[in-house]
Symmetry: C2
Subunit: 453 residues, 2 copies
Amino acid sequence: MAIPTRLHFPRAQWRRAAACTLLGALALLPGAHAATASAAPPDAAASDPGALGWMQGFPPPEAKRIRYTDSDYFAFPKLRWTACHFRQLMPTVGVSRGPGAAAPLPQRLDAAIDALPFTPLNTRTRMTWAQSLQANYTDGIIVLHDGVVVYERYAGCLQPDGQHGAMSVTKSITGLLGEMLVAEGVLDENDTVGAIIPELARSAFGDATVRQVLEMTTALRYSEDYADPNAEVWQYAAAGSTLPPAPGYSGPRSYYDYLQTVQKQGRHGEAFGYKTINTDTLGWIIARRTGKPVSTLLSERIWTRLGAEQDAYYTVDSSGTPFAGGGFNAGLRDMARLGQLLLQDGRSNGEQVVPAAAIARIRAGGDRRAFAKAGYPLLPGWSYRGMWWVSHNAHGTYMARGVHGQALYIDPAAKVVIARFGSHPVAGNSANDPTTLPAFDALARYLMAQPTR
Amino acid sequence: MAIPTRLHFPRAQWRRAAACTLLGALALLPGAHAATASAAPPDAAASDPGALGWMQGFPPPEAKRIRYTDSDYFAFPKLRWTACHFRQLMPTVGVSRGPGAAAPLPQRLDAAIDALPFTPLNTRTRMTWAQSLQANYTDGIIVLHDGVVVYERYAGCLQPDGQHGAMSVTKSITGLLGEMLVAEGVLDENDTVGAIIPELARSAFGDATVRQVLEMTTALRYSEDYADPNAEVWQYAAAGSTLPPAPGYSGPRSYYDYLQTVQKQGRHGEAFGYKTINTDTLGWIIARRTGKPVSTLLSERIWTRLGAEQDAYYTVDSSGTPFAGGGFNAGLRDMARLGQLLLQDGRSNGEQVVPAAAIARIRAGGDRRAFAKAGYPLLPGWSYRGMWWVSHNAHGTYMARGVHGQALYIDPAAKVVIARFGSHPVAGNSANDPTTLPAFDALARYLMAQPTR
């Protein structure tokens, strides 16, 4: 989710993006992308995984198989299949919804939405909502208005009973758990990480506070620039891989082992720096404080109380640690239920599942000046708090965002929740934001003007 | 599940068994065991995975980690953790229970069962039911009498909401699906495999009938003798592995690719030969005929209609094919629900889920003379039908059996179902049968004498 200076969709970032996913675990990290130009990738219809025949047949033909050991298993176009099938490629841990029944999601579909017009960022050409789904390689999108499903579509690899990688939307879930524990007094946001996790005392995280981790204002010597073969992200990927290490490899063999090696660069608390390792550190803090991995805590505290219709899961590293920074997978409708939980200030099915104070803290947003220093031209005036992206617009909209188009969008004023899974050829969301943010905004405004459902 | 000539528990088969799981996927195949003697393994309490600290802590200490790339990840004592955590080590595919609520399992526990005495095979020393659980390294056991839970225990790695590898109990589930399709006319048991799967026409399976596959009376040049480094089972394991192939490996890369290479040895239909590849061939037949992998068919036809309280899953090979011969994992209570479905002739929660004719075919048993040729001294007079082990005793008892002590035991006359998961040091069930079969029989007789619950 690093941000390029180009605002419009760079026609062939996808080629570089493909080259950027050479390592297995890497694909789960927030991807970057270069801005060099070449031919445009195939569009959503032409790259449909069903049409392309990936992993179809008993057995699939050799040329149509996708393996975890393939260097390009999460590069476009294979990612259009992989996004829905991570557990078939790599080890995972479950997030149980418990033995109960799913809570019904009431539905009153609005047929007018497909034709809703909006103007993409940095263009003058209007586009309809339906066109935006194609433009964004949408695998699934569901819209709740006041808790009622008004729109729901599936494409590509996804079905209502399927699951999809949430990518960095995972971070916002980890952040929600973190803010919940802060609100409950289990975590003190002013504690230093080193005080909670002695193993991190001598790393860059040692003197960072929990709050700085939650807001990603830590000062870390850590690059997620996939185009740089020396970037630390490659070491992180190697540490998290569950494949056999390369001959002679003697580096860290788990996320937690890697985090201990991270060095400081600069001063904490001054600038927002979007780095996945903050979230994995938060996951570690949560595990150490509660005695439970994030997968178990999420199940016990939220997934069993959400009325979820599917179990969810996390990918894990070779020490069994769930990837708190990017490894969450779930069904689309359950993502909408999660969004609705936040919209309802932590209440779900008549129960206060998450303290309202935790949601309020997220909604209040983080340090906008610190955020501005990171340079996100498509997100002017935004901030980052509790690992959520906060717009500070008049509606109080905030989002979870993950590479290749994953989104959970909450507009409190309009009472709108939008959950989207996608498999856009370009990892960075700056590629799809121009056809996403104004579309979501237009839809929220349209729904806000409708009679209550 | 090959059978040694020694009848009593060979004290240190466990050492050889450990050496027998050098390859990853292999661990899921029915293990064999040698009969050489050495020191006895640690007992159930001493090898408890919690007490040993496997994969505990955030992160687990290096010496306590268990990785898929470890040669001994499924050898005793690590197997005592691994048996409950396959999905955290390798890729899998889910078996959904659907969005509904679990069906309650009524419970009226019988405290007298623990003291129930029985005489193990080939000894004169009596043992109690409770002692047998320790002797068998039981991870979980549940007993239904007339549909009511009368006994339920968890130990080792298992909890009521946990999951456990079913090992070759998987075969009986695949067989149940096969018999279901035969009863429904979707499969003709007299068809040859080659007629259904042209890719297998030139293999040993080509001129075998579906029935011969279901009864494992195919004549295959295929050894599952783990002690023989040239045994075909090693090639099968390599084909099914999801790890990167060894340098220079040019063999098959999936179960289905391997099955095409199997050569005939002898004449079909004459002798029972317990070989996992029959079940994977049946899985392929099912997938080809129904257009669905066994994981999907099991979910649609049974797991969503069983009142299951957990999703289940299969391990998969690198082409995404579920391991129909040994890769099923589920919760213990759901295994009991499955047994109760069979006890009720295919009915569950007032619905005919599986045709009664399919269950009747299994209960009728297979060719006892063909079975006798395979030489199972602990199973005299038994047969194998629809991939279930049929006792032909006065109660009409039949079983699903998997290495290291997995069992699903159905006694129609006593209206008793016993589901057990275990992690016995020795793979082959001849090691635990002496303290299992008479215990189960004694309990069924005891319950049969009780008033109806």
